[in-house]
């Protein structure tokens, strides 16, 4: 397997605070790669660095072997599509218009779409099942619908890599699984590499080929879900009481939080409760 994405010794500081601290890893082609970690661990910054929105102060990013700094914005957008954590709430376009905007990096001087571009947009819309919404305005959609439109738009860019920042965060159970299935399908059918930031460890464990656990801008662990999501690593990283068992559907770990009022379940860990501050 070849590397589509290579990160070497990335460093980034905002003022005094180190946001990314010597980050190095590679993502393989067709991989489902999920970044996890507590709040403020630098996941979103990492995504922004990969998509070229934020420039690292040190280190190098290579996309298909080519240095990121040698990509123009437009060329980069043909390789990487981003589904951001938050999109403006007041996008004035209709669904069809938003999806079609995804063709921008492939268009010529004045940005006029050809019949082929329309075709691609229609396919992307039917893929994420938003065709019936095509004339609706973005601000009239529900959260799940908005997310699917933004994914259709990203697909429309025909990227090699799709980067998603917590795409399931605001969705209900069925929409979450729908989005994740879409990504898996995209990976299998189109051969697109998926890089995703997620807070939902169990969902991530079921889909991810490999996971990257981050904390305070540094890599804690990189590897298969069963390696990363061990009880010791997770509890140390998230600094809270957890239970880890096995997912009945797949041989991957499953995590459960332990609320304070149910402490007796983990009565064995009395010493830990005493010493660990609770977040």
């Amino acid at each position: 397997m070849s590397h589509v994405l290579d990160l070497k010794h990335l460093c980034l500081t905002y003022g005094q605070r180190s946001v990314l601290n010597d980050i190095s890893f590679s993502v393989h082609e067709r991989e489902f790669f999920i970044v996890i970690g507590p709040n403020a661990s630098g996941k979103t910054t990492l995504v922004k660095t990969i998509s070229g929105v934020v420039k690292p102060q040190k280190g190098a990013i290579k996309i298909l072997g080519q240095s990121l700094s040698r990509f123009s914005r437009k060329k980069l957008a043909r390789y990487i599509a981003v589904v951001p954590q938050t999109a403006p709430g007041d996008i004035p376009f209709s669904v069809a218009e938003v999806v079609l905007l995804g063709r921008f990096p492939h268009l010529g001087f004045m940005g006029l779409e050809s019949a082929n571009d329309l075709e691609i947009a229609e396919q992307a819309m039917s893929f994420t099942n938003v065709t019936h919404l095509s004339t609706r305005r973005m601000d009239q959609l529900s959260g799940g619908e908005r997310q699917r439109v933004l994914i259709a738009r990203a697909i429309c860019q025909k990227p090699k890599i799709i980067v998603l920042d917590e795409p399931t965060a605001a969705l209900d159970l069925s929409h979450q699984i729908h989005i994740m299935d879409l990504m898996e399908q995209l990976r299998c059918d189109e051969g697109i590499t998926v890089v995703m930031v997620s807070h939902d460890l169990n969902l991530a464990a079921m889909y991810a080929d490999r996971m990257l656990l981050m904390k305070n801008g540094s890599i804690v662990k990189l590897g298969h879900p069963s390696e990363v999501m061990s009880f010791e690593i997770l509890e140390k990283t998230y600094e809270c009481v957890l239970l880890v068992d096995e997912n009945p559907l797949k041989k991957v770990p499953r995590v459960i939080q332990a609320p304070r009022k149910l402490r007796y379940v983990s009565a064995l860990k009395n010493d830990l409760f005493a010493s660990q501050p609770e977040k």
Binding site: V53, K74, P88, A96, F109, M110, Q157
Partner: protein, 336 residues
């Protein structure tokens, strides 16, 4: 459904532009045939068609007095509307407008200093106005943020800069001699009456390339409506687009401000009005703003010359008088 709405962008743009161009031409014709010496549509038509006595006083009035004035009104209207459109897209703020952001105010300071120094309207006053507007733009940009443009802080610092500019203008007025005072006050209210053919021609040579440059950026401006970060990840060089369009717009604004003075509300009302009717696509909005904004100001100027029996009222009074209620009406309607 999709094919119908999308494939026809070119056709829609052409159709809307054609309609607005006809509107602009008819308003211009009305402007040419109306003036303080009365209205004579047939005579004006003969003069415009090239027949008739080219040495008559009416011919001079039509060609050398009304014609430059109507063209200037159209150019200024187009520039201000386009400026408003660009600012609103870049800052994703419906209130953004050169006038409100202080760009107009900055160029007004430059222009007033130019007038006080007795410089000529084009080149002299215009250059100082351009300097003033670029200075305010630089101040606003550096105040709002050094790395990325934060839209809210930009509007806020723009409003502050504008307030500062206003006080400087009031200061300049208060130390002005009486004989120049009237000129400046009239100019501040927006005044198209000093246009002559030569200057208007030069102005149009300066403005039309700017219109084209901004039209080239229509698609990136569309993407910017998705938010700066998303636009950037979709292949837009946000910094380049912002710097080029802001500079070009400031240049256009100062070139027109030095000719026409401060005209509010054109840049606010026309883009909003057209957006409500035509939707958010800048490929459609840019030509529409140029043609529609031009027509609006020609019409306002026509009223400014037509309404009063003695002398004329400054066109800036008319634009705001019509523009403000219209804007409030539109805002109320879109809330529902």
């Amino acid at each position: 459904m999709m094919d119908k709405t999308k494939l026809s962008v070119v056709k829609r743009t052409l159709a809307v532009s054609l309609f607005l161009a006809i509107l602009l031409l008819s308003v211009c014709f009305l402007g040419l045939s109306t003036g303080s010496t009365g209205q004579n549509i047939r005579e004006v038509f003969t003069i415009l068609s090239g027949y008739g006595d080219q040495n008559s006083a009416m011919s001079t009035i039509v060609w050398q007095i009304r014609f430059p004035r109507v063209i200037l009104a159209a150019l200024v209207g187009a520039t201000l509307s386009l400026g408003g459109l660009v600012f609103q897209a870049l800052l994703r703020n419906p209130l953004a407008e050169p006038y409100i952001l202080g760009i107009s105010g900055g160029s007004a300071i430059g222009a007033i200093i130019g007038i006080l120094l007795g410089l000529s309207r084009f080149s002299g006053v215009a250059l100082l106005a351009f300097g003033g507007s670029m200075l305010t733009l630089a101040i606003i940009l550096s105040l709002s943020s050094k790395s990325a443009m934060k839209k809210d802080s930009m509007i806020l610092s723009g409003v502050m800069v504008n307030a500062f500019c206003s006080s400087i203008i009031m200061f300049l007025i208060s130390i002005t001699r009486e004989s120049e005072l009237h000129t400046i006050v009239f100019w501040l209210m927006g005044d198209l009456s000093t246009s002559d053919a030569h200057q208007t021609l030069r102005l149009s040579f300066a403005l039309i390339p700017c219109f084209i440059v901004i039209f080239i950026f229509a698609k990136p401006l569309n993407l910017l409506l998705m938010g700066e970060e998303m636009a950037s990840s979709m292949g837009v060089n946000v910094r380049l687009v912002s710097v080029v369009t802001l500079t070009v717009t400031s240049f256009m604004i100062s070139a027109t401000v030095s000719h026409s003075g401060l005209l509010g509300f054109v840049g606010l009302v026309i883009p909003h009005l057209l957006r409500i009717i035509l939707g958010p696509d800048h490929r459609l909005l840019i030509p529409s703003c140029i043609l529609g904004g031009g027509a609006y100001l020609v019409l306002c100027d026509l009223m400014a010359r037509f309404i009063p029996s003695q002398g004329e009222i400054p066109v800036g009074v008319v634009t705001a008088m019509i523009g403000a209620p219209l804007f409030i009406y539109l805002m109320q309607r879109s809330k529902r």
